[in-house]
Structure formats: C-alpha cells, structure tokens
C-alpha cells in the first residue's frame, strides 16, 4: 500500500525525516508511534503530496508520489494534524463543499454520501450550527467524516482521537476496526501508546526523523523469559526458588523461568497458594521508551 525508500526531508538545517523505509501492507492496521516532533506528521504530509521530499521515493497504492498523487488521492481518506473546516458554515455544508470540490461521485448522491459519513462518526443529528460553535470533539468527528466521505481504500489518520473523551475514543476505534475488517488499510499516527496498542497489528516507531523500528506488534511483546507470580505467601516462594526470584514488589514476584506452566505445577506441588501467574511481556511503552530519546517539545537548560 505504502512503500518509501530512503525518504528524507530537510527544512534548512533541520532534518525532519531522515532516510525512512516505511512499508505498510494491504489490510494493515499500522501504527506510527513517536514522540512529538519526531517527524510523523511531516512523513504523513509527504505521503499525501502536501510536502515535497528532499530525497527518496514514495509509492502509494502502487503509484509514485508526488508525481501521480492525483490518481491515488481519490482512494485515500486522511486526517492531517487536526480537522479543517470553514468556521462560518455548518458541518453538513462543509462536507458538501469538500465533496463538490474534488472529482468523482455525482451531485445527486451527494446528500446521501454526506449523511452516511455523518452517521458513521456519530454526527447524524447535527443541526445548522456553524462549525465555529462546535466542540473540539465534534470537529474531530467532522474531520473523520470528511476522510470517510469517499469510502477510501486507505485511511491515513494523524492523531484522530485528539479532543475525544474515552467513549469517543472507543467509538472511533470500533469504527476503524469495522472499516479495517471490510478491507480498508489504516495508517494511524499517534503519540498515544494505548491507542496504538489497542488497535494496531503492526507498528513503526519514529525518533528524531528516523524510523527506528518496524515490526509486528505481537513480535515486540513476546515473553521476556520471566514469570510474574502473585501470591499471599511470597516468603515461601522465595524460600522454594532461591536465587531465581529477580524482583519483589509486595506480594508480586518476578521469577526467571522459561515455562510458566511448569513453574505453576512446582508451586502447587509445594502447597503454595497462587492468585495470579503469567509470563512477563514487554509493554509497548517499554519498547518505545527504550527506542526513543527525548521529546522535541522538551527544552533543557544548557
């Protein structure tokens, strides 16, 4: 779906995106992670032909970008750095204008398309109020509706849940899951780990313009070779497995052991009661924090 080779963007002396080899496959739920200022948005803008690369190649839906971007954009729905709307017009009027501005679709279907898109994002009952009076969450939903207007094959969403409350975030995730199940490829860029963790199957992590990691989410979270055990009798466990207990936090112990099932059998055989037991997995947060350095919005004293 999306392939970039050695993609680089420089603004003067600042290198915003540095030699990125991105690979998003058909049907992916791809999560692009990274601290603020790591180059996610610039990368997304280059994919859509808004920003021109300094070096490197981009291929989206099999076509070179930005040379033939006009051919692929009709199949892409996107939300880039917050929604954009004409503040003096209603949400519906905004969608109609955007629908009319580009190619494809007949004038007769316009009302239906707009109503469907509004319905999908939970704005079906929206009235004639101008967008100026919308809350942040409503604007975000309107931006999503605009992205969905043409039933795209590829959704490129930059921080789509900005300004939404927990219920709204959940609704958006369910909507994206549904669309993905119907065959839409989703590229989700966010700095919110939980969001990526809950939705994506593949992740790319950016840090200071570089794509420092690109892998299946499941592979990143494989077991660490340790087992976490919660028990009301931690002393007895320490006595039984002397030397293999690597950490202790109250009644929760971290034990170096290859096989959780065997460990469980050992503990039960020794008559130790266990409330919880499972393999320790690296959290996505740990993976990302290990890979990334500092936030670009953090300014240290010299």
């Amino acid at each position: 779906m999306i392939v970039t080779r050695d993609l680089t963007k420089r603004y003067g002396r600042l290198t915003a995106v540095d030699g990125v080899h991105l690979d998003v496959r058909e049907g992916d739920r791809y999560g692009l992670l990274g601290p603020n200022g790591s180059g996610k948005t610039t990368l997304v803008r280059m994919l859509l032909g808004l920003v021109f690369a300094t070096r490197g190649e981009i291929e989206v839906l099999g076509r070179p970008v930005p040379r033939r971007v006009g051919e692929v954009l009709p199949d892409i729905g996107a939300l880039v750095e917050g929604p954009g709307a004409y503040p003096h017009l209603s949400g519906r009027a905004n969608l109609r204008l955007f629908d009319a501005a580009g190619p494809g679709g007949s004038r007769r279907d316009r009302r239906r398309r707009v109503d469907e898109a509004l319905e999908r994002v939970g704005l079906a009952g929206v009235d004639r109020r101008p967008v100026r009076a919308y809350s942040l969450g409503m604007r975000q939903r309107l931006g999503l509706a605009s992205a969905l207007l043409r039933r795209p094959r590829l959704l490129v969403l930059d921080e789509p849940t900005n300004g939404l409350d927990p219920r709204g975030i959940r609704e958006v995730r369910d909507l994206l899951t549904e669309l993905n199940a119907q065959g839409t490829t989703v590229l989700l860029s966010s700095h919110l780990l939980a969001e990526i963790d809950a939705f994506c199957t593949r992740v790319g992590v950016m840090d200071r313009g570089r794509l420092v990691l690109q892998d299946e989410l499941a592979a990143l979270r494989e077991p660490t070779g340790r087992v976490v055990v919660a028990t009301p009798e931690p002393e007895r466990v320490v006595a039984l497995l002397d030397g293999r207990v690597e950490g202790r936090d109250g009644t929760t112990l971290t034990i170096r052991h290859a096989d959780p099932a065997a460990l469980n059998a050992d503990l039960v055989a020794a008559g130790i009661r266990v409330t919880e037991l499972g393999p320790e997995r690296r959290s996505l947060e740990q993976v990302v924090l290990d890979l990334t350095t500092t936030s670009a919005d953090r300014v240290e004293a010299a």
Partner: protein, 276 residues
Amino acid sequence: MIAVELAKLFRRPRTYVITGLLCALPLIVAIFLATTRVPPPPGQGGAFLSAVLSNGALYPAAAMALVMPVFLPVSVAVLAGDAVAGEATTGTLRYLLIRPVGRTRLLAAKLIALVVFVLFAIVAVLLTSYVTGLALFGSQPSAGVALPADVTSLSGVTITPAGLALRMLGTVAYIVISMLSVAAIALFLSTVTDSALGAAMGALAVLVTSQVLVTLDAAAAVRPYLPTRYWLAWIDFFRDPVLWRDIERGAGIQLVYLVVLLGMAWANFLTRDVVN
C-alpha cells in the same frame, strides 16, 4: 471547483459587508452634494462631481472615480490576500489539496472568484449610484447626456444614453483589469505567507508606494511602468472622441503585471510545501 469557490464567496457575510461599504461611500457623497449644492472647484475633488449636479445620470461614473483610487483596491487586496493564506489558516487548504483539487485548478478557481467579486461589487456600486444620482440630482430625459466640461476637451458635447452605457461598459472592463492586477499581487503574496493580513498589507504597500511615486517628479523615469499610473485613464472614455492612448497603455501595463504575478503565484504555489 469554480462553483465551490463561488459558493464560498457568496456564503460569506463579509462579501456583502464590503460591497455595502463600497456602495455607501458614493451615497454619502451624493447626500452632501445634493443638500448643499456646493460643487467642488474645477480641477479639484473627484472627477464628474460638479457635472452630476446638473445631470444625475453621470453619477455612476462619479461613483467609480470615488471608489477606484482607494476603497476598491483595498477590498480586492483583502479578499485576494485571504484567498490562499486564509485557507491555510483554517486548515482547509490541506484538505482541499488531498481531496484532491489540483493546485493549478485551485488557484484558477480563486482568481475567477475574485473576478466575480470585482464585477459584483462594481455592478452593485453602479446600480446604487445610478438610482442615487437620478433620485437626488434628476436627469435630462431623452435629450442625451452632456459630457461635463471639466472632463471633455470640447464642452457641451452630448452623447446618447446608449453611448453613455457603452462608455460605462468600457469603464467597467478597464477597472476589472486594473483590479485584477491588484488581485494578482495579493494572490502571489498569499501563496508566499500564511498570514492573510500580511498578504493584503504587502499588496497595499505596493499600491501606496506606486501612488506616491506617480506624483513624484524625481521618479518620472519609472512613472510609465508603475501599476497605478493609468488607473484613472478610464475617464478618457468620457471624452469625445474617446482618447485611447492612455487606456491602451494602462490596459497593457496591467496585463503585463497580471501575467507576471500570476505566473509567480502559480510557480510558487506549485512547488510549495503545505505545512499549515
């Protein structure tokens, strides 16, 4: 896309506010003239103003002379400066471009919307001032229109109402071309900066500089090439016979400015990173 731009133009209240203000200026002047009946001395004040006291049918021409030097170019510069920069500010520019709307098409649609606005504003001013002129000054029915002595080289020449309409048409065309070059300056700056106000300011700075240099004898060498040098040349439409020399030169210079600046706007917009 053109339809979309026109919809945006005519669904914004500011379009009507600006047009209303443009129409209000000649109205205010007319009320003062009609109540006091004090004509400006020949050679001073707006063109045609002393003539309209005897013939209200000429008031549209006087109204044009009132709004043309400052008011109309200011409103055109404000709207054209907002054309691209304003879309960037609301965040709609990127969504139009990924819709997708080609950058060339977008710029062309913006320009056409500006032409429509200028025509709309001029026609509104002409209509309201015609009504104002007839209501406040009356007309000389059917006898034809006497060209004003302070404008024509031959005083007392009369032209038919049809002739007057034709000359007004020429005037409108000339003013549209002049305003288009203003629009082109502001449109170019609008593709350079993301600040609509900055773009409008820049265009106005160019016009004010040009106006100052036109009156400066030391700048006589560059005078024929200044954008505002021939702005009032349309007054020559009301001479008998029509004096074409300045009109032709003026239109030529405006076209050169128009082509060069639109080319610059196009080249800049086509290669620009849209980061807003």
